[in-house]
């Protein structure tokens, strides 16, 4: 029953996307809306039904596999087109379809004036399908397929405004980095296949212990999988595509580049916990990368002027927390934060979208200020989101982030390092988020005022923002310190309860709560002092620490380094290949041989002087040579 519904959940967005794509001409907007948004609504309702259905089952009876058909059987490997419905995938389905539905709804108005209305919804539906495939797949092959389809949809949506060169470039960059991730994932799958002889989740995870704890193979598998995860989840050093991805329409940024797709890496690690449990080193490396990412991205976010880029870097940073958590083995905490983040980051993005829409595609914080008068809904959404992300008690981020940090502290040793980084990150998070909030909604209006006056949004856009804002407030109460741990309980059939699985201790929770709330409040206060209380102060202080700030502004020079280290050398190599090696080598073989033969032919022709006497001479020479040859043969034989 659950699986049958899950198939429908999976297929409905795909069908809708295909119908929209195949519609002979631009369909009426009504049709596009019904198909594009309705399909996701159907999926969401069915997902809820599945969730309710699973809730009624016993905890150890919540995992179902369903195979559609034997997709390929080759060289001793069988791959079925099959899905796995279990607490983890259902949780992801709910987030994808739930948040996805709200964002689709929002897009109805946001994209209303775009000539490619249909294309937008087709791509969005494709994305939802791909994301569902990613989380529902019951084997690594279809995980990879979903993984790549997600990347494709992301590519299409980043490059949605394809006549903008910057959008095209950003799309390409995102795609290529995702392919690098795919390669890691594929290699990981190869290693799993070679070691365990199967790509099926169930079998692979069951046989995983055969590799032996702390074995090199397990480490290699984990790291290869993590390459894929890092590329998708924008972890250092594969994070550079995400800020550029903001070239896409804002709903895209909200859905793909904040709420769902970028968290796929977290999902992957949780899904493959059986492998990560086998190698503490792999887990620590993952956590370390997450920690570095969260800190680095937070510093960069401090400097951004583009409102969407602030949110983008904030996403990188937040996903860093999740990755850190799952790396340390706090799978449920990571998933909990994933969910909470989906709520508040979507709220933030959609609120930002309202601003951008209202200001006729203006995205620079420099041209904003005092907007709380005009855009109340956006203010609500962004305010709720900022409070949540900063970790103010009671809001979703508070529970989620503190859960992660407490887990880190519980982990001990290396976890303490992560905890410290996390706390610093929390401070920075509060600082940059409230910087954005204060600069956009408080302070004076930009010079010359707004022309035309920012217009409040229609309910299509307002409702999702409000709902998500509310979710940012209440969504964290699923799992409270000292109280209930609903997410842990829900996920325990998937992640298990072994020694490697970290669950925060109460002492850690207390310490974390005190420290992180202090850090958050400090961050907000500093932001108020710098940006809110006196808008002129930041201009007065602008010259301070110019060097570090420039580095941060350039995102720690990753792009330039990649250009210098990878892109330019490969381009040079390719140029050398096509301008020197190819003409001299493979083409040179041809022209060289031709020239050689022409030369030989000329020699032969030249010997053909036309004079009879010369011919006689050659005959005599020939006789002598023939004599020598035969004499040699005869001498050799005897």
């Amino acid at each position: 029953m659950a699986t049958a519904l899950a198939w429908i959940v999976l297929v409905v967005p795909l069908v809708s996307g295909i119908v929209l794509t195949g519609w002979p001409s631009e369909p009426p907007h009504v049709v596009t809306r019904v198909l594009g948004v309705g399909s996701i609504l159907v999926s969401f309702i069915l997902s809820v039904a599945i969730f309710v259905g699973l809730l009624t089952n016993a905890a150890d009876d919540r995992s179902f596999t369903s195979s559609a058909f034997e997709w390929i059987s080759l060289g001793g490997v069988d791959v079925d087109l099959s899905i796995l419905v279990d607490p983890l995938s259902v949780m992801m389905m709910l987030i994808i379809t739930g948040v996805g539905f709200l964002i689709h709804l929002y897009s109805v108005e946001y994209m209303d004036h775009d000539r490619d209305y249909r294309r937008f919804f087709a791509c969005m539906n494709l994305f939802v399908f791909a994301m569902l495939l990613l989380v529902l797949a019951a084997n690594f092959f279809f995980l990879i397929v979903g993984w790549a389809f997600v990347g494709l949809a992301s590519y299409l949506l980043i490059g949605f405004w394809y006549q903008r060169p910057s959008a095209v470039a950003a799309a390409k960059k995102a795609f290529v980095i995702n392919v690098i991730g795919d390669v890691g994932l594929v290699l990981g799958a190869f290693l799993i296949l070679r070691t365990l002889g199967t790509l099926d989740y169930g079998e692979a995870f069951a046989r995983a212990p055969e590799m032996g704890a702390q074995s090199g193979t397990a480490l290699a598998i984990c790291l290869l999988l993590f390459v894929g995860a890092a590329a998708k989840s924008a972890q250092v050093p594969l994070h550079t595509w995400l800020p550029d991805a903001m070239e896409g329409p804002t709903p895209v940024s909200a859905l793909i580049h904040a709420a769902t797709m970028v968290t796929a890496g977290v999902y992957l690690i949780v899904r493959c916990n059986a492998f990560f449990d086998l190698s503490w080193l792999a887990g620590d490396i993952v956590a370390f990368v997450g920690a570095i990412t969260l800190l680095l991205a937070a510093t960069v976010a401090l400097q951004q002027v583009d409102i969407k880029r602030v949110l983008a870097w904030s996403t990188v940073s937040q996903v860093g927390y999740m990755v850190m958590a799952v790396g340390l083995g706090a799978y449920a905490s990571g998933m909990f934060m994933l969910m909470a983040h989906a709520f508040y980051k979507a709220a933030l993005f959609l609120a930002a979208g309202i601003i951008i829409h209202a200001l006729n595609d203006e995205q620079s914080l420099d041209r904003m200020g005092g907007l709380r008068k005009y855009l109340r809904v956006a203010f609500f959404g962004m305010g709720a989101g900022c409070l949540a992300i900063a970790g103010i008690p009671g809001f979703a981020g508070f529970f989620a982030k503190d859960d992660v940090l407490a887990s880190a502290l519980t982990y001990g040793g290396f976890g303490v390092f992560c905890w410290v980084v996390g706390v610093v990150g929390a401070f920075l998070t509060a600082l940059y988020m409230f910087r954005m909030l204060f600069r956009a909604f408080f302070g004076p209006e930009p010079a010359g005022g707004y022309d035309p006056r920012p217009h409040p949004s229609h309910w299509w856009m307002a409702v999702p923002v409000v709902i998500l804002g509310i979710l940012s407030i209440v969504g964290g109460w699923l799992q409270a310190p000292f109280g209930w741990r609903e997410v842990d309980g829900w996920l325990s059939p998937v992640v298990g309860t072994g020694a490697e699985v970290v669950v925060p201790e109460h002492t850690a929770e207390i310490i974390t709560m005190i420290v992180s709330v202090t850090a958050a409040v400090a961050g907000i206060a500093l932001a108020w002092w710098l940006f809110g209380a006196d808008p002129e102060r930041r201009i007065r202080l602008a010259k301070m620490a110019a060097g570090p700030r420039r580095v941060m502004n350039d995102a720690w020079e990753f792009d330039r380094a990649y250009d210098d280290v990878f892109v330019e050398p490969s381009r040079d190599l390719a140029n050398v290949m096509s301008t020197s090696v190819e003409p001299a080598g493979p083409q040179g073989i041809i022209s060289g041989t031709a020239a050689l033969m022409r030369g030989a032919s000329r020699v032969v022709s030249a010997s053909q002087s036309g004079m009879v006497r010369a011919y006689a001479f050659w005959m005599v020479l020939g006789i002598s040579l023939a004599g020598i040859v035969i004499a040699l043969v005869v001498a050799g034989a005897s």
Binding site: S605, A606, R613, A616
Partner: protein, 101 residues
């Protein structure tokens, strides 16, 4: 008198070499033909010598045939020479090199 086969061969070889040098050195078509004749007769000498050695008439028959053939070739050669060099002043086969390469 019994001439040893070596003598026959020496004479014939001498004739052959003379002929070969002649065809390589001479430009006059008539002298070229003469050189060819020398070579053919070198063969004849050898044939006759061997004929005597084996005491077999076939070699002499062969030599007669060669003479006929040589005559025929010379006839054609002279005819061609006349028709070619009717219009030319000097007899030089090297000038006959309009086709080459």
């Amino acid at each position: 008198m019994n001439v040893p086969i070596g003598a026959y061969l020496a004479v014939s070889l001498g004739l052959l070499v003379l002929g070969l040098i002649g065809v390589m050195r001479r430009r006059n078509p008539l002298l070229l033909l003469l050189s060819v004749e020398l070579m053919l007769n070198a063969g004849n000498v050898a044939l006759i010598g061997f004929s005597r050695q084996w005491d077999d008439p076939a070699g002499q028959v062969f030599a007669l045939v060669v003479m006929v053939v040589a005559a025929a070739e010379v006839v054609i050669g002279l005819g061609l020479t006349v028709s070619i060099f009717r219009t030319r002043t000097n007899l030089d086969v090297d000038e006959l090199s309009s086709m080459r390469g």
